[in-house]
């Protein structure tokens, strides 16, 4: 399992596109949007950075789904899955070995973006334990949904298109681009069914209200449940993925 994880991680380090999507583009978005909204009258600077930095952090975690889909589709098409299946490695270890690097990468992404917020915009971080828990859940949901999509889609393009829908649609409805409070009532209700909303609200609770693990239990539970659903779908779809890869 660790051999697979190590190789996957090495490949990710070599992937310049992934570095751009994961770290550079979110930083550009954060810098750009903080600059745009900082000039607005009647809006506090703290409000802006605590909305934009965690908001874009949550949004960009979902872009890992593209990399996961590409990795799985490639492995299926170039016969790597079939070849690994001929070795004594239990196939669940292959699945875990592929997943772990993406989980680490998303956690690293969250850490870098929040640290950028701290260093550049004096973003307060709040309780570290709560921050770690909500970040773990955020990484869990983004990667598990990515794994689910990776085993279900037939082509890379299909995966990329669906990722855009989930990442952008979720960002819009979940209040990542603008505070939920200024959205129409109906959209405010809908936003509660979007995991991005619970991710952002969790971060805001910790950063703005000095929330602890107890204060974010609901957010954590919802994110965990959505992530678990993703893993369940991934495990159910994995059999079909393997069958396609083996024949």
């Amino acid at each position: 399992m660790w051999a697979i994880a190590q190789v996957e991680f090495k490949k990710k380090i070599q992937d310049k596109g992934l570095w751009f999507w994961t770290f550079i583009l979110p930083v550009i978005f954060i810098v750009g949007f903080v600059a745009i909204f900082s000039g607005q009258e009647g809006v506090e600077y703290t409000e802006i950075v605590t909305q934009i930095i965690p908001g874009y952090t949550v949004m960009f975690t979902f872009f890992i789904m593209i990399s996961i889909v590409i990795a799985f589709v490639k492995d299926r098409e170039n016969g790597m899955v079939a070849r690994v299946a001929s070795t004594p490695l239990p196939i669940k270890h292959f699945f875990m070995g592929k997943w772990i690097p993406f989980m680490i990468l998303v956690l690293l992404q969250i850490a870098v973006l929040l640290l950028f917020g701290v260093l550049v915009y004096d973003l307060p971080l709040g309780d570290p334990a709560a921050l770690i828990i909500i970040s773990l859940m955020q990484a869990f949901i983004a990667t598990s949904w990515g794994m689910a999509m990776a085993v279900l889609v037939k082509t890379e393009n299909m995966g990329i298109a669906l990722t855009q829908v989930i990442a952008m649609g979720g960002a819009l409805l979940g209040g990542l681009w603008m505070p939920v409070e200024i959205m129409p009532d109906l959209l405010q209700k809908i936003s509660r069914f979007v995991p991005q909303y619970w991710g952002l609200e969790g971060y805001k609770e910790i950063i703005l209200n000095d929330g602890t693990i107890i204060d974010i239990w609901q957010h954590t539970l919802i994110l965990f449940a959505c992530g678990a659903a993703g893993i369940l779908i991934a495990l159910l779809g994995y059999k079909r993925y393997l069958k396609q890869s083996r024949s």
Binding site: W2, A3, I4, Q6, V7, K10, K11, Q14, N78, G79, M80, A82, R83, V84, A85, S86, T87, P88, L89, K243, R246, S247
Partner: protein, 302 residues
Amino acid sequence: MIKIDHVSKTYDAAQALTDINLEIAEGTCFGLVGPNGAGKSTLMKILAGIILDFDGDMFFNGHGVSNERMFIKKQIGYIPQDICLEETLTARDNLLLFGHLYGLSGKKLHERIEAVLEQIGLTNRSKDVVLSFSGGMKRRLNIGCALLHEPAVIIMDEPTVGIDPQSRNSIFTIIKQLKAAGSTIIYSSHYMEEVEQLCDSVGLIDKGRVVEGGQMQELLERHGKPSLFISGDAIGPKSLEPLTAMKKGDGYLVNSEDPMATLEQLIASLRSQDIKPKRLELYYPRLEDIFFTLTGTQLRDV
């Protein structure tokens, strides 16, 4: 001994393999021969434990695939038809990966990597990324990845497809070394000459069925009665009458139970017609001819 026992496989409605029964002796090289789409790769994948949903069973030295899959996988090195490597990584990284997958680690793994690099002739390129390799080098590395754990059985699915003659010879050398070391090799190909050159026994497969099999020499002798090959400007079915001739290449094959007597008869007939052939020789059928006789299909038809 490897025993393939009544193995059948269907893909949705399509029957890929039908009641395959084969026995492969330990330490021999077995050739699985058939045109593209005959079912060779499907059988190879079943042997390698990749395809799991099939009817029938297989036994490796008495161990059944259905019950002792993991044990058997440790004894097998599978070399797929497609090159399956991590191309952005180095040759050594690829070998490390597969070594770990086969359960090797530490000093033993590093020793085996050095030995395999030497065996496949890539010691000097071990730190280069696979992307920079030629097709032949990739093929050799593809083979090397399956040899790290010193498997007793090596399954090679068309390992020489799409490579230059030099790389092909290099792969043949590796296979001969493996044979000499006592490995059992299962080698699939649609290149008859390769199979004739490398294998001790053979199975001819067409449309998912084994149409003939056995020791290479026995098979050639059983089906390989010599005939006469004749070619030349004025040579045709009419000039060869009353003998029956079959077109082959730029000439004709004349089948006969007694080729020497037929040769005399043919020479006399040609003299009387004042025809001088360009070539007239005894022709010993090759595997390709036997396959054609049995199936009516040329190996490269499909």
